[in-house]
Amino acid sequence: MPEQYLEANQSRVGPPNPYELKLAGALSEIFASGSHELPAIISGLNNLGLNAPDGHPWDETRFRSEMRRLGE
């Protein structure tokens, strides 16, 4: 085989940006604490001091639409 294809990231085109990494990290932390329900996740993000992309605290509508966009 001339060149072995071994590519770790196949689900996205470029690396995640700092905002995405921070959000993913915060979510992992919240999930790891055992919170898997929507209200707990949202208050978890707000407690960590993260804001939604529009600068406001997260709420259900903001969280759903941002995840829709990022998870496509």
Partner: protein, 366 residues
Amino acid sequence: MTTATASAPAGAGVRAGRAKTKTVVGTRRQLDASELAATGLRDRWYPIYPSRFVGPGDMVKVRRLGVDWLLFRDARGQIRMLEDRCPHRSAPLSVGQHLGDRVACKYHGVQVNGDGTVVSVPGMPGCALEGKTVTASLAVEEGADMIFAFMPLTEDSEVTEFKLPDRLDNPEVSWFSNYAEWNSPWRFYMDNVLDPMHGAFLHRDSHSMFGGDTSARFRIRETDRGFFFEKTDQRGKNFDWVEYCRESMDYVDLEIPYADSAGPGGSFGIVGMSTPIDAHTSAVFHWRTRTVSDWERDVWRFMYKTTLEEKHWVVLEQDRELLEALAADADKDEHLYQHDLGVARIRRVHDADAQKQAAILSEGIA
């Protein structure tokens, strides 16, 4: 989830009325059982290559089951797979030119269409080669991000119906595909996935396979599509079971628990397949799946892209590095124990198939 089908004859070059030896499509020779087992059993569907690697106008050469093939899309975007060998003097078609619904060989310009039929011999118009279907072309399908092909044993082989694994054809299940090339024989991949016990050792240091006991008892349980090889005393803690499925293609189906940090949705599933490149290297296909919907689906997909995919990759690399380190004859003179019942079983299945296919070939002299 499946797109259009190109129905093509399994083989090519039918010369009626002449007794002839049955050769394996793409090889021009008979193969014995051990060669078949080494380069891949025929008469089944195999994943070939990610769809995204073959764009419009591309001419892509891939080696599969020890044979060189050309992949290209015709003018309608339909994927085509021809043996990479010109019917004239065997130059690789892949170095030729893409002409929409056909390809032109670089050596003397002979044009072959997606069915393997010679449509033009520019250097000698009216040549008897025109209109002849002499290049092997395969039946191909696309689904779950991949190109699949039916690999016929002989030109008389009947193409079986293409069916994606259930998990990949279920709207409730969200998945991501992964493709890799391993310098390790195809059969070692199968042995490895039919051996769930390696999870607790080889992958102990991983994001998903640290849990559960390091000793276990196993049993085989038959299903209508294959068999389960599973721990009798533990489920839902580590790599505790695998189902080997024999449908239009061979694949494994299994589930592994996620740690809490992976978010809502529980275990993730794996559909795994391996296609021999040749006797020593394999194309390895995995789909990581999760049964999630609504915002949980979006969250999973976001987490997969940002963090989980890399963690899955680390686990897969642990498998690759181990399998690539095995001696070429690692499966001779082993000392198997109870955990290896799944390995022994899969080898018997494949061995029986190889014997059967070798017999079909040697009966072929009419």
